[in-house]
């Protein structure tokens, strides 16, 4: 039963991606050759300075920003913390209210929780059964005291894409800056900060075949935001710390690659994903697809299999060489039901029985075939063990 000799079928690209060889190639010279501190004055440091400048242009180009509006950080979580705390603290004298959604990543939700302890108040907007925020709800939630609206571009669990431009417009109509966590969206949803009216945007390198521990925050010129990491004058005085030059260079190259052929790429991935979804829903009864039927990330499939629990599904898949996830991958060991699934109205049982399969560049049609072969068996086994399974769904009874 252990198929690990076959190299694992990796369908957890929303958790993290492998790093592309082109990205490694771009980074390689910056570890030991152009190793200078970009802040140093001597010419030798130009190598690293140029690397950082080039990456800043690459990130800017990918999201329709000016290079001066791109600030590097050490990942999506730092960027989210910076955006939300930074905007909140910088606008404290203007108001103390933040509007966000119930399905944000914990990097935003727990940051909001911290701000609540500092005396801010936060509205967590509900979502519909598909996980969408209604811009009308944003409108209603905004008060005179609102200083930030933060709604993610696309959800990491169910893949639902939010009407970001419409939400941004509502925020701006009330003079409130708009932040979006685009960590999952880069390379999947075309981003244009101008057109979409985004004031702050977080991204993370390892979600699009770039290096782990890299990220960026886009800060529209004129947006009030406090510094999160104080110290030296790096990043034009806004984010202290010697620049992770190889990481930044890798991030730049990765975002360039990820956004270059975004439509072709999406079509290929979405076609595989659609076949996977059809196959799963067609072969396993009492199963639902979570998230939005169309407004979703091209690589995301999220199912609830009734009567069984997610971790068990995961580990049986693992035993067959398939890497997948349940809920989000953030808190190992915990088996909390997903706050995202609960927010879409699922029962605890359904939320517990969720499986997220996220496809990526290395996946093939054979991978999809293999998952379609293994998954019904895995769910069948667990359903035969479960006391919740109705007899009709327990065929064949014998193990």
């Amino acid at each position: 039963m252990n198929d690990l000799n076959r190299h694992p079928v990796y369908m957890d690209h929303a958790a993290t991606t492998f790093m592309k060889p082109e990205v490694m190639a771009a980074m390689a010279p910056y570890f030991s050759r152009y190793f200078g501190n970009p802040s140093s004055l001597y010419r030798f440091a130009c190598g690293s300075r140029n690397g950082v400048d080039g990456a800043r242009r690459q990130v800017a180009a990918a999201i329709g920003a000016n290079p001066e509006e791109v600030f590097f950080a050490a990942g999506g979580s730092e960027a989210d913390n910076w955006a939300v705390k930074g905007a909140a603290l910088a606008n404290r004298e203007r108001g103390d209210h933040i509007v966000t959604s119930a399905i944000e990543h914990h990097a935003v939700l727990h940051t909001c929780g911290w701000l609540e302890k500092q005396g801010f108040s936060v509205t967590y907007l509900p979502v519909d059964e598909f996980g969408r925020v209604d811009p009308g709800d944003v409108e209603e939630a905004i008060t005179d005291a609102t200083i930030l609206v933060s709604v993610m571009t696309a959800n990491n669990e169910i893949g639902t894409i939010q009407p970001v431009a419409a939400i941004a417009k509502v925020a701006h109509d009330h003079g409130v800056p708009f932040h979006t966590d685009a960590v999952q969206a880069i390379g999947a949803v075309p981003i244009d900060v101008e057109r979409m009216g985004i004031d702050l945007l977080s991204l993370s390198g390892h979600k699009f075949y770039g290096p782990k521990g890299t990220g960026a925050l886009y800060i529209r010129r004129g947006t009030r935001i406090e510094t999160l990491i104080h110290g030296g004058g790096q990043e034009r005085g806004r984010r202290a710390g010697t620049e992770n030059v190889p990481g930044i260079v890798g991030l730049g190259r990765a975002i360039e690659l990820a956004t270059a052929d975004i439509e072709v790429h999406n079509r290929r991935i979405a076609a595989m994903r659609d076949r996977l979804v059809r196959g799963v829903l067609g072969s396993i009864q009492d199963t639902r697809l979570n998230g939005h039927p169309t407004e979703r990330l091209p690589n995301n499939a999220n199912f609830s299999f009734r009567y069984v629990e997610g971790e068990s599904i995961l580990l049986l898949l693992d035993a067959r060489g398939i890497c997948a996830s349940t809920g989000s991958a953030c808190s190992s060991g915990s088996s909390e039901p997903s706050h995202v699934l609960l927010a879409t109205g699922l029962s605890h049982e359904e939320a517990h029985g969720s499986l997220r399969l996220t496809l990526g560049d290395a996946n093939t049609e054979e991978d999809v075939d293999y998952v379609l072969e293994v998954l019904p068996d895995v769910i069948g086994r667990l359903r035969r063990i479960s006391p919740l399974t109705p007899v009709r769904a327990r065929i064949p009874e014998v193990d």
């Binding site: 039963m1 009567y307 069984v308 629990e309 971790e311 068990s312 580990l315 049986l316 035993a319 190992s332 060991g333 915990s334 088996s335 909390e336 039901p337 029962s347 605890h348 049982e349 517990h352 035969r384 063990i385 479960s386 006391p387 919740l388 193990d399």
Partner: protein, 146 residues
Amino acid sequence: MYTEKVIAEFTNPENVGEIADTDGVGEVGSPTCGDIMKIYLKVEEDRIIDARFRTFGCATAIASSSMATRMIRGMTLSDAWELSNADVVDVLGSLPEAKVHCSVLARDAIRAAINDCRTRRGLELRETGSSRCGGGTGCGSCPENG
């Protein structure tokens, strides 16, 4: 995260199923908690001659159900009552710290089954010592457990 032994017990559990003419059934946990364990006993005199289970839950819950039913087969009811989750964990090798409490479910289900057996025999219930949430200890996150 899990040892090979736990994975083996989980992927090929023994004693899955029901006992038609059972002498005692115990069910603990709830869907809200993310774990439900149901244990069926066949008892002759004071000795457990068959034990079966159905479990909805994580790998630990399934592995410890399987292991616990294997362990209590052949035991007297009073020995089975004393089976602790530490005993189960010991035989499983080890569990991730965050998962140890999930194995408590098995002990709770066994005690519930024994008590059911006692009820059928007209004996009084023993104090199970298990807590809220239907006797489960919240292997998943249980709102009632905070």
